[in-house]
Symmetry: C2
Subunit: 487 residues, 2 copies
């Protein structure tokens, strides 16, 4: 088979992992990234409004592992395990809620460090070329002709020929984020069901420096200050600082006009965080740092005729409250790889060189990927949205805590049968949609069990009371009659 060429648009986390996977499978890879090489930037800088804080969990790690166990190990060296949530009450009291009774954990990791690792890994494959500062302009998806523009030679709206690059691709991967232009171009070609929805909350990042050379608060936790309609969270960094994110409704952001307003907000709702961040730093950062919007995207199909596929945020941007955005994007790449390798195996090929797939088989594989993966990504997009309410309000709700306790108990007793939702999402690779289906079944059983247990308890108490009062008890046949009649 002649050389197969893939053009990847977007050199973020998902784009660079895709480059690695396809290079490993024999593809010649050209990756084009709009921004300059982030590896040149200073550590920890705020890159274009993107959070530098991420949590990597099982799905993300599994995707690295399948590519190369050594890569997973390298990634793990960059993380700080977070074993639970630390809930900060208004009076400063902290209470820890473990993520998993068996000690499983998620991991705080810096976006820029992880990208650096993946870009270095991609470049280690001889078939990969990375091109920075190139913007995707348009593409003919039927012929595979892709038009790019060197950012140094005039922006997109300029009509200059200079810096214009044209490449021909057998496969085009859109890993260009929530506002994907590859997706936009695809919408003009296929009947795409598409929705984008903004939530009415925005966010702003703040930083909490180390205290006396150490973490100011427990580094083993994802810290949450849940305040009902808004919240503050904090994730640890390797340099012993924390990155805090304030999530709140836009109108609340709009009501903060000056330094005194933001200090007043923190004094009223996050007094301990105010103390740890410092008034001066809070004011400076709140004024300087961008206020980000939060939106989610669903679309279908995710591919076009075996020629184009969109991955990561381009296919399913989600709100960040389940910590699954990147993990889901990494899993996309893994699932796509599995689907392509399976297509090879079904054709009795002995290798895993997906670059050898015929056009027909590649198209079948991409079609299958689109149909199955979109069900799972849609499920996690919904869960991420629901988890916002859990994080900012429910974590201090008694009913929520009771259920959590019961579920934990059952999980410990029957770890094969009752697994909490959070654990299935964060610590397994069960497809997202299957997780939701299983969770719904579990909830039904849980609900029935609680009802049955209450009934049994009530019956027992009734029996006992009757005996104590010396009442005549109905015979079994009488009870049967009553029960049958009732039904």
């Amino acid at each position: 088979m002649s050389e197969r060429h893939v053009v990847i648009i977007g050199g973020g986390l998902v784009g660079s992992l895709t480059a690695c996977y396809l290079a490993k499978r024999g593809w010649t890879v050209d990756l084009y990234e709009k921004r300059q090489d982030t590896r040149m930037q200073q550590h920890g800088s705020f890159g274009e409004n993107r959070s530098i804080n991420l949590a990597i969990s099982e799905r993300g790690l599994a995707a690295l592992r399948r590519l190369d166990p050594a890569l997973e190990a390298q990634a793990k060296a960059l993380v700080i395990p977070m074993r639970g949530r630390m809930i900060h009450a208004l009076d400063g009291h902290q209470s820890s809620q473990a993520y998993d009774i068996f000690g499983k954990h998620i991991n705080s990791v810096s976006r820029s460090e992880l990208i650096k690792l993946l870009l270095d890994e991609a470049e280690s494959y001889p078939g990969v070329k990375l091109h920075f500062g190139y913007e995707f302009i348009t593409a003919d998806f039927d012929t595979g002709r892709v038009v790019l523009q060197d950012a140094d030679h005039g922006g997109r709206n300029e009509r200059c020929e200079q810096g214009r690059v044209i490449v021909n691709a057998d496969l085009i991967v859109g890993a260009d984020g929530a506002f994907s232009r590859v997706r936009q171009r695809m919408m003009a070609k296929v009947m795409m069901n598409y929705s984008q929805t903004y939530i009415e909350h925005g966010y702003c990042e703040l930083s909490m420096e180390p205290r006396n050379g150490n973490f100011a608060i427990s580094p083993d936790h994802l810290h949450i200050w849940p305040r009902g309609s808004f919240m503050l969270i904090a994730l640890p960094n390797l340099d012993k600082s924390f990155t805090c994110t304030l999530f709140m409704p836009w109108q609340q952001f709009d009501s903060i006009k000056c330094d005194a307003d933001i200090v007043a907000l923190f004094r009223a709702h996050f007094p301990d965080a105010l103390h740890l961040i410092g008034e001066k730093k809070l004011c400076a950062e709140f004024a300087a740092n961008p206020k980000g919007s939060l939106m989610y995207v669903k679309c279908l199909p995710l591919t076009y005729k075996g020629r184009v596929v969109i991955l990561g945020d381009a296919a399913h941007a989600m709100v960040p409250f389940y910590g699954q955005g990147m993990n889901c994007g990494f899993e996309d790449v893994e699932v796509l790889d599995r689907t392509m390798v399976e297509a090879l195996q079904n054709a009795n090929a002995s290798s895993e060189r997906t670059a050898d797939l015929s056009n027909h088989l590649l198209r079948c594989a991409l079609d299958k990927y689109s149909a199955t993966r979109s069900v799972d990504t849609s499920a996690i997009v919904d869960l991420a949205l629901e988890n916002y309410i859990e994080m900012r309000a429910k974590v201090v709700d008694l009913r929520y805590l009771t259920r959590r306790f019961l579920e934990g108990l059952l999980y410990r007793m029957f770890p094969q049968h009752i697994v909490p939702l959070y654990s299935m999402i964060s610590f397994t690779s069960i497809p997202y949609a299957d997780v939701v289906a299983r969770w719904n079944r579990q909830s039904m059983y849980l609900c029935r069990s609680v009802k049955a247990a209450s009934l049994a308890a009530a019956f027992g108490i009734g029996l006992l009371s009757a005996r104590l009062l010396g009442l005549r008890l109905p015979s079994l046949s009488e009870i049967a009659r009553i029960v049958i009649r009732k039904d």
Copy 2:
């Protein structure tokens, strides 16, 4: 006040009506339409995949009336009233279902004739200039700078300066249809919630010629051949022909490979229509005519900072099954005009020259339009989708017909209180969302009334039977005890 300039993108039905309204209110209007002047085209030609068949009803007519009662009269001269649905059974039996027991009706009208009327009307205002063959390229929504391209001088992707037109607008109206570029540009500027959804059915238009110089079937009806998962409909034209539209799932379209297949489909499901259309014509038209897709769009906001507004399909494309697409678009224009005139009146202006609105007041008016109108357009988009099931399946369902009969009876008895959904949508100007709310209330009452009537009847029969059998009847106090205990 100096001259206020509006640029309208799109010279279809909604764009041309907007031109009239704004010109009447003192605006200088430049309207740019991508296609050439449709008034030059032959009558009845299929214009770019758009149906030539439309139904205009109260909302559409009311919008024309508010602009100029003479215009409404001119439009009415172009229509053929359709007083009901004519249901064609498989055996050829036809049964008529009146749209309204008081004789109200919808009106079949040719798209091209109506556009011609509106473009002529727009041109009659001295402030209006129509530009055909100009494509919208981009706009700076903050400054109002709009870039257009003369289609005769290279298409959109060419980078030639020739034929490039730049205009400055105080207000930009996007009336450029379901795939609106103005909306797309707006999405890059504001946090727009947006969704587009394709249904799994497509359509193909066919024509039924007059027979012996007259309509082949009743011209007073919208004809329906409901067949469950698919259907054929037919609307009368002034030249005594009918335009038929076949709606069916894409996979059913895909299964038709040759002339014999389409003839077989018609012979099995629409034998009377096959006879009237003719085998040869059916085959020729089915092969030649485009197969259209059906989608709906919802978005919010509909405006940008008092500078841009999207109207018609650009704001709320819908499936055609309630005959409300154009009517809703016309109503958009009317509601926008009312909102702007109200803003003037609230500022104690004596005129209705909305061109005199200050920037601030214009922005407030547009914001208000967006917030209120989007609720109504969202409601009709949903209703249009639901009505597809009604048209292709429910119209022959016994439960549906029973409810329809009962409702008709109550409508005749209490025309102020019980109005069928179809009548509220098609024969009133009650805001769509209010219609839905009222309909839900009515349904609840109807349901309760039927239950009460059934109970009363059962009680009566019971009483009668008991007397006939000579049984002792319980006393009132006994009944009261039973009833109370039961509750």
